[in-house]
Symmetry: C2
Amino acid sequence: MALSEKIQEKIRKVEPYVPGEQPQRKVIKLNTNENPYPPAKGVEETLRKMEPDRLRLYPDPTANALVSELAERYGLRKDQVFVGVGSDDVLSMCFLTFFNSDLPILFPDITYSFYKVWAGLYRIPYECQPLDEEFHIRMEDYEKENGGIIFPNPNAPTSVGESLTMIEEILKKNQDSVVIIDEAYIDFADNTESAAALLERYENLLVVQTFSKSRAMAGMRIGFAMGNPELIRRLNDAKYSFNSYTMNLPSILCGVEAVKDQAYFEKRVNQIKETRAWAAEEFEKLGFTYPGLEANFLFVTHPEYQACEIFAQLKEHDIYVRYFPEGKLKDYLRITIGTREEMEALFDTLKKIMSKEN
Amino acid sequence: MALSEKIQEKIRKVEPYVPGEQPQRKVIKLNTNENPYPPAKGVEETLRKMEPDRLRLYPDPTANALVSELAERYGLRKDQVFVGVGSDDVLSMCFLTFFNSDLPILFPDITYSFYKVWAGLYRIPYECQPLDEEFHIRMEDYEKENGGIIFPNPNAPTSVGESLTMIEEILKKNQDSVVIIDEAYIDFADNTESAAALLERYENLLVVQTFSKSRAMAGMRIGFAMGNPELIRRLNDAKYSFNSYTMNLPSILCGVEAVKDQAYFEKRVNQIKETRAWAAEEFEKLGFTYPGLEANFLFVTHPEYQACEIFAQLKEHDIYVRYFPEGKLKDYLRITIGTREEMEALFDTLKKIMSKEN
């Protein structure tokens, strides 16, 4: 059946999208920045002991248990924390709540690809600001009048971090806008500080983080925002008014456990950082360069080898990395830091590919 | 800290909302139409045996396992089923996808309260159509030009069902609009048929159902839509373009189990229907009347007692039912069908309240 033309006219036009590859056979998966280690032990225990009878009831719409645990972990009050179904849900809710202006919102030209999508969805005007040659933000680009500001720090897919000093400058110069720092990768940063340190001083600041990377819970869909109580209240007002029950019971209960086990969290993050340091050296030995080293992935380029060819050949060897065929990015590969063993397999294969091509 | 005025201007205005009461002490909870019985046994087993390591990976964005199971259950093909995070998520996505017209969408004046909210959110014009004196839809109201049609069947909060014949008439007369039948309560209906029976004949039909009531999974957040492959494709296009990963791993895996166990499902639904039949008689004995008997709740009114007073007094006795203080609804109480024991406690208390007042 084909739909009638008049029905077609009433249907929203969107960019068709094909979900990322989910290969059925066993591959080395370094393409979506997942954590190579399982979540904290308490998560498993929570699943094992969860009372199924509780599932018949609606979940706590305030997700109080998880909000409390996060507040304690980050030294905040409960009214400074908002949780959602992955940071995509949190960020989308932020766009909807805070970017209601005729002035354009500002974000970098190379950044998380969903910012443009949500701006389109909520009819928010936006202006992309070009990064400099080293993939850094140019502060002067964020000094013009605007409807809001958002950027990831460290940035994706570059792994480049911006200084807290610069973020503070941007906050000071934009006291009439909400400034959102999207810190999906902050826990892996060595030289980039979380803007959460500035929360007490800037009422216009919102910091968004996720459980999908450093807490190894991409499959559970948990994200959160930290900000001043008034911003958090507005986020909750918006959320409750459109959909009261979004986060399910397993997410709330398992999320608590992932936050509680700080020792495990630090151990795994440090393991990934160690593997990253080693992998960075290995890339250098092979002649690759990268603009930053602040996330659980590397964004690498090679003067002699084409990124898309390496991408294709790695895939032939069942090693999946990420390639962006657009503009400046097309010379780079984004490669997630896996386990040491996975990275060794990557380098073995890279060496084979590169010796064959020469 | 108070936000600057210019920031306030940029913040979306929404109706402030206070989440429903979540009493900490043990009460008889007949206020949110939850199932009084636990979900299928397979749900518990799935939680027990879930591999926590899988949580580190993003969930399958297509939720293929759950879509397949639902398709099989309802005799459809996989490309005729869409799943989301509760039927609120599914319905919101339907509004966003199918109601992009300058013509108003049509729905009853007494209906699910979120329809107006989503219309407002997505700036969709709408016109409410009054129900008749018996809380039935008047078919002629749905014969005017429109941007789309949606209504629950059975309707909430009335428990009144509409005939398949009437729905078919509406579908025939609105071939240029998507018509959404919101069947949250259909599994409890004795005299109302699911519009799913019409899917093969009407390309403009979308049927939405939920796991929150008949499948006892409100805490897991699962809803689904059934429709022709072209409508389902458009829903998926919209969803993927804004947020690829919405349904978490426990929802997908446990959802499958809830659908698989048809014997358990039927047993529990029948138990609730039996309790409902008995409860309806008890209400009648006490002088209450109700317009319909098609859902897992009753919508009752009494000629001599004020609904809001009964509501308040039941609450004093730790029995929570639902009261809507607006317009025509203010003379009614919506009371979920709990276990036989819970309903007996309700009637004992009602009798006390009513004898005291007389």
